[in-house]
């Protein structure tokens, strides 16, 4: 255990053994795991084998620290709310300010994902709740997926369950997914001006079938004006904008 970094939690455990009439004072000192997990995610430190960032070489990463935190009794909800979400929020903000670029976002996502492997079972058991479900797909006729994947991982990092329908997604497939996940928010992605027309059709059909559905749109040729014209609820030029919008819904 590295005591040279972070703040400290002191856990005092009093154990009484009546038979031996001994009082043991067990002091467990633990570094601030949440802060360290958060730092690992922000800088893409996946696990102990990850050589990056150089200053953290040889140290445990998000994967191991999350395990330790859970073993020490930190709740998965606290790990999510106090470590992962703030880390991904900082990553998104830095990306919006052009301080980091796509590769660093993806490295952060990988670290977050390694942490989530320990947390996901708690979602499945119902012990920890997501903020909501976000269904995302690239619209019919379009095969581009990098932008969609970036948005997905940032929104997952904000505590949402992601249902990724992939690329070339028909309106029917979106409808089916919404029926399977009532109350979900939907994200439509397009990279071509030709497939923006398919985005328009999908948005119109979805709005007709689900009047209260929140529809987010994005992709290089998409604009705020286009978003308004097709009756979608929100457009953002970058993933962090979508994350901020979703915060207002959850």
């Amino acid at each position: 255990m590295d005591l040279s970094t972070g703040t400290f939690y002191l856990f005092l455990t009093l154990v009484w053994y009546p038979g031996k009439q001994i009082l043991l004072l067990q002091i467990v000192v633990m570094t601030d795991l949440l802060e360290r997990i958060s730092t690992c995610v922000e800088f893409g430190k996946v696990d102990i084998k990850s050589p990056y960032p150089p200053a953290m070489k040889g140290q445990e990463g998000a994967f191991e620290l999350t395990r330790h935190a859970l073993d020490k009794g930190v709740s998965p909800g606290d790990i999510l709310e106090e470590a992962l979400i703030p880390a991904m929020s900082r990553v998104g903000q830095k990306f919006s300010r052009n301080e980091i670029f796509v590769p660093q976002m993806l490295m952060a996502a990988k670290a977050m994902s390694s942490s989530m492997t320990h947390i996901k079972p708690y979602y499945l058991s119902g012990e920890t709740k997501r903020r909501g479900t976000f269904i995302i797909g690239t619209v019919r006729g379009d095969l581009h997926d990098i932008g969609k994947n970036l948005v997905s991982m940032m929104i997952e990092g904000a505590g949402w369950e992601i249902v990724d329908l992939g690329v070339d997604v028909s309106t029917e497939k979106f409808i089916e997914a919404i029926e399977q996940h009532p109350g979900a928010v939907i994200g439509l992605s397009a990279l071509l001006t030709t497939t923006m027309e398919n985005m328009r059709k999908s948005a119109a059909d979805l709005r007709k079938k689900f009047p209260d559905l929140k529809i987010l749109v994005g992709g290089a040729p998409v604009t705020e004006e286009f978003c308004r014209k097709i009756g979608a609820d929100f457009y953002s030029p970058d993933p962090q904008g979508a994350v901020e919008y979703l915060k207002t819904l959850s």
Partner: protein
């Protein structure tokens, strides 16, 4: 004219590739530069890009509608492209491709959850396709020069205000599966890492910097590029 280029002649250095991802020289994190080096090396061993162009000696330019006609097909190229083609006497229609492999590797990595690897493959694929287009353009320039002609920049449907749907008109000049490229209904080329378009040819045309300031596409991949 059909040409092919080994990947090793097309990919720029690690620093330049990191620059495409947004990094100023020497600022990309080590895992990124390491991965660029690894995947470049992997692709360089056996990859080859293909390019083809066909020259049409006469084009019809309409200054009122700002359209360009080639053998009866009218391209609505819009003002930015038209302004650079307006003195052309002929035109070369071209397509270039990095091939299927690099795109497949990108998608496979993404599917397997290695988003960074998938992204780096994607960027390398784009640079290979653009590198092939650069080489093809240089070959065209040299060929045109032998007859006293110059060439313009290359322009592609989907950029500089030219509607991507006009890919269908462009592809009407090529036989099916020309250069191994097919076009979807939504005008998406397959392989995705392909470039198509038009280059003006004439005695009074010239190569100029792209007029990005006149274009409202802030997300264009060519914005700010030197060539």
């Amino acid at each position: 004219m059909r040409v092919s280029y080994p990947y090793k002649d097309l990919l720029p250095g690690i620093d330049a590739l990191a620059g495409v991802m947004g990094y100023k020289s020497g600022t990309a994190p080590e895992p990124v530069t390491d991965l660029i080096a690894e995947l470049s090396e992997e692709l360089l061993t056996n990859g080859e890009a293909r390019a083809e162009y066909t020259i049409f000696n006469h084009v019809r330019l309409d200054k009122v509608s700002r359209t360009l006609g080639v053998e009866g097909v009218v391209f609505n190229v819009k003002p930015i492209v038209f302004s650079q083609l307006k003195h052309a006497e002929g035109a070369a229609l071209f397509i270039c491709t990095a091939g299927q492999e690099v795109g497949m590797r990108s998608r496979r990595s993404m599917r397997e959850g290695d988003l960074l690897r998938g992204y780096v493959y994607d960027v390398l694929g784009s640079e290979i396709a653009e590198g092939a287009a650069d080489k093809m353009q240089e070959a065209l320039r040299a060929a045109a020069a032998t007859t006293g002609m110059s060439i313009t920049n290359r322009f592609s449907p989907g950029y500089c205000g030219w509607d991507v749907a006009e890919q269908h008109k462009l592809f009407s000049f090529f036989p099916d599966n020309y250069c191994g490229i097919t076009l979807t209904d939504s005008a998406l080329m397959n392989p995705v890492k392909s470039v198509s378009g038009i280059i003006g040819v004439g005695r009074n045309v010239k190569y100029e910097p792209y007029r990005c300031r006149q274009c409202d596409d802030k997300n264009c991949i060519y914005r700010g590029r030197k060539t």
